[in-house]
């Protein structure tokens, strides 16, 4: 038996140390303020922001949400205030938080991504970048980047070199690449990101899905298809993390369908060093903290004192 106060929950992502392995997933937690009244954001392992793009984006037409069996579809379309408004309106609050903040970066072209990473390099208070090459809900960029290994490697290489040239500590911020499960061989894409110099990978983004309203005889989502998330995708995410964490040497952050500690532990056993909770926050905002509690309990029960050693139990 291990004592709770002796548990080492910290996780290393490149040069960044996360205080614990449970973060909140991009797009499900806004920019931190929205959920602050409902759970203590400071106790999170990491906060991954909603995607930030170069220009402001209004997002896709409504409806943008649909219910599915044990899951949901979204087609938000990267709605966000844009890089500059992010810096002036969102970053000040984020800087006050006690948890690492990782900015999810998206774009339509390589230049878009590059300009955002470059600009954010001169702002402090950020823990790292999560490069979203896997959003299924935009016409250009997004997932298109995430399916071609050569493109992935080139983009990542470019972003890493921009990061390297940033002033001070910003030059050591980890570049995390977020992968799409909508590919034939995710191992290839993972290795391309690693070859490009990524410090870590996040798996998985949403699956492509569609719901049709049979009364109105049209897709529920205005855009037709959307991204499937929630418990329904849990086994897909676990299989991906199991595969990817064996295909690369860099750390893998697991997400997709986590709604309780047992789900998170599946990811950690499968090979993830950390996890993110997304959709489950909508159902139950306290989920991330409950997940963390359950991971602690597991470590005590199993006599594992370092969270990074959980994967060795499999």
């Amino acid at each position: 038996m291990t004592q709770t106060d002796k548990l080492d929950l910290s996780v290393q992502i490149g040069s960044l140390t996360l205080p614990n392995p449970v973060g909140v997933a991009s797009g499900t937690f806004g920019y931190g303020e929205e959920y602050a009244p409902l759970l203590d954001v400071n106790t999170l392992g990491a906060l991954y922001t909603k995607a930030v793009t170069l220009e402001p984006r209004a997002g896709n037409p409504a409806p943008r949400l649909a219910d599915t069996p044990a899951g949901m579809l979204n087609s938000i379309g990267l709605a966000n205030p844009g890089m500059e408004a992010f810096i002036t309106d969102k970053l000040p609050f984020l800087r006050t938080l006690g948890c690492p903040v990782i900015v999810n970066v998206a774009g339509s072209t390589e230049d878009d991504y590059a300009l955002v990473v470059e600009r954010l390099g001169s702002e402090d208070g950020l823990g790292g970048y999560e490069i979203n090459i896997s959003c299924p809900n935009v016409a250009h960029g997004g997932m298109a980047f995430g399916t071609d290994p050569a493109l992935v490697e080139r983009l990542v290489k470019r972003l890493v070199s921009i990061r390297d040239r940033a002033p001070g500590a910003a030059s050591r911020r980890p570049v995390i690449v977020k992968l799409s499960p909508n590919v034939t061989d995710i191992g290839l894409i993972a290795r391309a990101a690693e070859a490009g110099g990524a410090d870590a990978l996040s798996c998985i983004n949403t699956l492509v899905g569609m719901v049709i309203d049979t009364k109105r005889k049209r897709p529920v989502l205005a855009r037709g298809t959307g991204g499937l998330s929630g418990p329904a995708v849990l086994p897909v995410g676990v299989a991906v993390v199991y595969k990817v964490s064996r295909a690369v040497a860099i750390p893998v952050i697991g997400l997709g369908g986590i709604s309780c500690a047992d789900d998170a532990l599946q990811y950690l056993l499968a090979g993830a060093v950390a996890v993110q909770v997304g959709t489950a926050i909508f159902s139950r905002p306290e989920t991330p903290l409950e997940v963390l509690g359950g991971i602690r309990d597991f470590m005590e029960r199993e006599g594992v004192s370092e969270v990074r050693c959980i994967r060795e139990l499999l």
Binding site: T28, A58, T68, N80, F282, E286
Partner: protein, 265 residues
Amino acid sequence: MKRFDARITALRSVATGYRELRYEWPADLPPPSPGRFFTVRAGGRYDPVLRRPFAFSAWSPGGAGEPAEASFIFQVRGRGTRYLAELDTGDTIDVLGPLGTGFGKPRRGSRPVLVAGGIGLGPMLYLANALSIDARDGLCEAPVLALGFRTASLIPDVAMPEGTVICTDDGSAGYRGTVTGWLEGYDPGAPPYLYACGPSAMMAAVGAMAAARRAPYEAALEQWMACGVGACAGCAVRLRTGQYIKACVDGPVYDGNLVDWGAML
């Protein structure tokens, strides 16, 4: 705003397919104002994933050892509301609220005209009751609540404020015709201040009248929601300006004269 497990204090059928549910309101939360809403987990651990939003239909302060109570009226539509309909007094529901921005106050001297159909009943009842008090205090003219139903048997068994107008499509009770038909011929006797909640077609028709009469119009919209707190941008509503705003925090009550009714239908 808080997430809490609330004890159900009453659940009853108020009309065919409609229920009223009352639950205990936590002592540390302020009373919700009319037009605001809450979300509830309506099912098991997984399914449905999305919480269901409902508008408050009443709130009572309790006292003398009795807890405060919030109420809502809901229509049984799909699996979420079926789940709620099958609960019993004493069961708990998982509530997140109060959420959103409620109705604004009518201009002094104006006549609040409240139009509701279907699931719009609850919030409009709550608002009508609140405005009746305001009218007594001289803050506005006495409100008029106009409710539309297909037929008399769908009229809910709930206390309605004085001066409520009932419209039925088949004329089986009150005015024969739609509530917007009634509104067309209605003379408010003072500058009207319009409020509406109900089917999109009704809301859009009221919107056309508001525009024609240049009347203020507050419209409570129904929109799919995921987080309910402004974090996901899932509930975006398009304004005439092309701008999207969030139904869950900026709404669910909007300036009806800015809503792009075409995009809503």
